[in-house]
């Protein structure tokens, strides 16, 4: 039988989501550092597949989500590669072709720790919100910037953030679209710890 480590190594080292197993811990790494680990359609599908494997593999006891490099966890959708669809929203939604959220299949019983190094914006911050424990490096930056672009967060940002930090801080973040740093994230209880080095 193939050992779990081998079985779950990425088949192709160029896949946008890396996945390795160490001592019962699955380390899931968004790995497009050249694009601030943003999510293009391929990454979105790959990440979803990884969550399913993590969820089903009984050798995994705990999960870490992080981003490659120290510049970003993830800066959300790669807008260069995610063009607006020609079909209407109703047409997509009610024919079963609606796009799954960035956090699809992340909901599982195994605990997920999110290690935020650098930027976590838009869908990247929403991924962090969908994890169970959040840790940040000192250079971490957060923000839900959708409102500045004429859209709204659609992967749990409007729902998970108020539950985590309360209404006043949540609405300030959501309505201004402003970025904030690790110290501010710690103050509002969005992250548990801030570390001086890369985590």
């Amino acid at each position: 039988m193939t050992p779990p480590f081998e079985r779950h190594r990425p088949r192709n080292p160029d896949t946008p989501v890396l996945y390795e197993l160490r001592d019962g811990v699955a380390i899931v790494t968004l790995s497009r550092p050249e694009a601030m680990n943003s999510i293009d359609p391929e990454t979105r599908a790959d990440l979803r597949g990884v969550w399913r494997q993590v969820s089903e593999n009984d050798d995994i006891r705990c999960v870490i989500l992080t981003g490659a490099g120290d510049k970003a966890l993830c800066t959300g959708s790669d807008l260069k590669k995610t063009m607006p669809p020609v079909e209407s929203f109703a047409q997509l939604s009610f024919t079963g072709n609606g796009q799954a959220p960035m956090t699809a299949d992340i909901d599982m019983d195994k605990p997920i720790i999110c290690a935020v190094n650098g930027h976590a914006f838009g869908g990247g911050m929403e991924l962090a919100l969908a994890c169970d424990i959040r840790l940040a490096s000192k250079n971490a930056q957060f923000g839900l910037t959708e409102v500045r672009l004429g859209t709204i967060p659609a992967a749990g940002g409007t729902q998970r953030l108020p539950r985590l930090v309360g209404q006043s801080d949540a609405l300030k973040i959501l309505l201004t679209g402003d970025r904030f740093d690790a110290a501010e994230a710690l103050r509002m209880g969005l992250v548990s710890d801030v570390w001086n080095q890369r985590i």
């Binding site: 500045r148 004429g150 709204i152 659609a154 409007t158 729902q159 309505l175 201004t176």
Partner: protein
């Protein structure tokens, strides 16, 4: 009052339909179970998807300038 005004101005510069949609989602969401909330958020995301402001937001971002929103 400068601090309040600074935040208010930031909000006033953003797409007004998005601002109102977000406020409504946060207020109604707190009374609903999370899975229903997430579904509602998904559908409300569809409302501004094809508005003039959404197109302006994308365009301004590509052109690296400040977006001018009209609530349309």
């Amino acid at each position: 009052m400068p601090a309040a005004l600074a935040i208010a101005r930031r909000i006033a510069q953003n797409a007004p339909l998005s601002v109102r949609a977000i406020k409504r989602l946060v207020r109604t969401g707190l009374d609903m179970p999370l899975d229903k909330d997430l579904e509602t958020e998904y559908y409300v995301f569809g409302l501004p998807r094809d508005t003039e402001d959404r197109i302006e937001g994308r365009r301004a971002s590509q052109e690296k300038r400040t977006a001018v929103y009209r609530g349309r």
